[in-house]
């Protein structure tokens, strides 16, 4: 029984260590990219050492990778760095100006709000009196054009003035 198990175990391990070509083909790319675990890599190596077809497949992959890696580089243009740095400088200046634009508009908005809500030249009398004074001066100027005494009286009364000439 024990021997059987041992034998069975050995047979199983032997089979596990052998890889079929279909399995190798699936893992070939990972093997070539050095992305296989150590254990699988060793099994691949063993298979490749005895299988010509799989070696040919691997050689194809190696060739295309080598060719791709060998594509010659292009050079960055001469003033590459200077141009990027000047873009950055412009960006910083715009950002700086932008900050000040916010401050200016804020200050302007403050002045505007205070200018509308608060009268910067407050008058000593009431606004009603001021209105009356302005109206009386206008009306007195125009009095000379009015010939009728009664009319002038009424007008002076309306203006709140006490012109003696008007009281007759």
């Amino acid at each position: 029984m024990f021997a059987c198990k041992k034998k069975g175990g050995r047979v199983f391990n032997k089979r596990e260590n052998k890889m079929k070509c279909s399995e190798v083909i699936l893992l070939l790319n990972r093997y070539q990219d050095n992305e296989l675990e150590q254990h699988s890599g060793d099994r691949m190596k063993r298979h490749l050492s005895v299988c010509k077809n799989c070696r040919v497949e691997l050689a194809e992959l190696n060739r295309i990778s080598r060719d791709l890696a060998g594509i010659r580089d292009v050079e960055p243009k001469e003033n590459f760095t200077a141009e990027v740095m000047s873009l950055i400088k412009e960006h910083k200046e715009k950002k700086f100006e932008g900050k000040f634009a916010y401050i200016y508009s804020f200050v302007f908005a403050l002045f505007f709000i205070f200018g509308v809500l608060i009268d910067p030249y407050p008058s000593s009398g009431s606004s009603e009196d001021t209105g009356k004074m302005e109206l009386s001066s206008i009306l007195l100027d125009s009095q000379k054009f009015i010939s009728d005494d009664n009319h002038s009286f009424v007008i002076i009364e309306l203006a709140g003035g006490k012109d003696e000439k008007g009281i007759h």
């Binding site: 790319n29 990972r30 990219d33 992305e35 194809e60 992959l61 295309i64 990778s65 060719d67 791709l68 890696a69 594509i71 010659r72 580089d73 292009v74 050079e75 960055p76 243009k77 590459f80 760095t81 141009e83 990027v84 740095m85 873009l87 950055i88 960006h91 910083k92």
Partner: protein, 197 residues
Amino acid sequence: MTIKKNGAEFSDDDVIRSVKNGNSANYEVIINRYKSRIVNFVYRMIGDYDESQNISQEVFFQIYRKIGRYKENNTFQSFIYTIARNITLNYLKKMNRVTFFSKLSEKGEGESIQAGDVTPDEKMEKDEREKILNLGLKNLIVNQRLALIMKIYLGFSYKKIAEVTGWSQPKIETLISRGKVNLINYVRLQEKGGKGV
């Protein structure tokens, strides 16, 4: 501007820290360190020399703008290649695919590539092979092309590609594997005088 610290170069994180602290002139160090790899990565993705320069400059500008988001425990390479990938893919989306490839064919490949130390015959053969490879690369679907370039040109592991792209590792493996097979088939067809994949 070259920065040295005890004879050794400052690390990416050292430079980024100083840029974050207001020394934006030090950003030149980052540009000079990565410009060649970014330009070539973009060039391999889009196949147009002039556009690859413009896009790469945009990549560095955007890296600068987003530098505040970079956290030092992440790798800076993943950060920059994520930005490079996004900008390049956005560009490719905008492009009309048909116009793009007809433009490529008209211009030809390798016109800006510097000649190596080879004989004229070898150079012609190498140029021809490279032209086929470049066209084959550009005929792959974008994700296969991106995965292949990251693996073969940049030398990234599947794990790092996953960091940059957000893809799962099995997906990356499939993309790379199919990309290689498609490319092998394309090259075979072209060498036999066939057309298309």
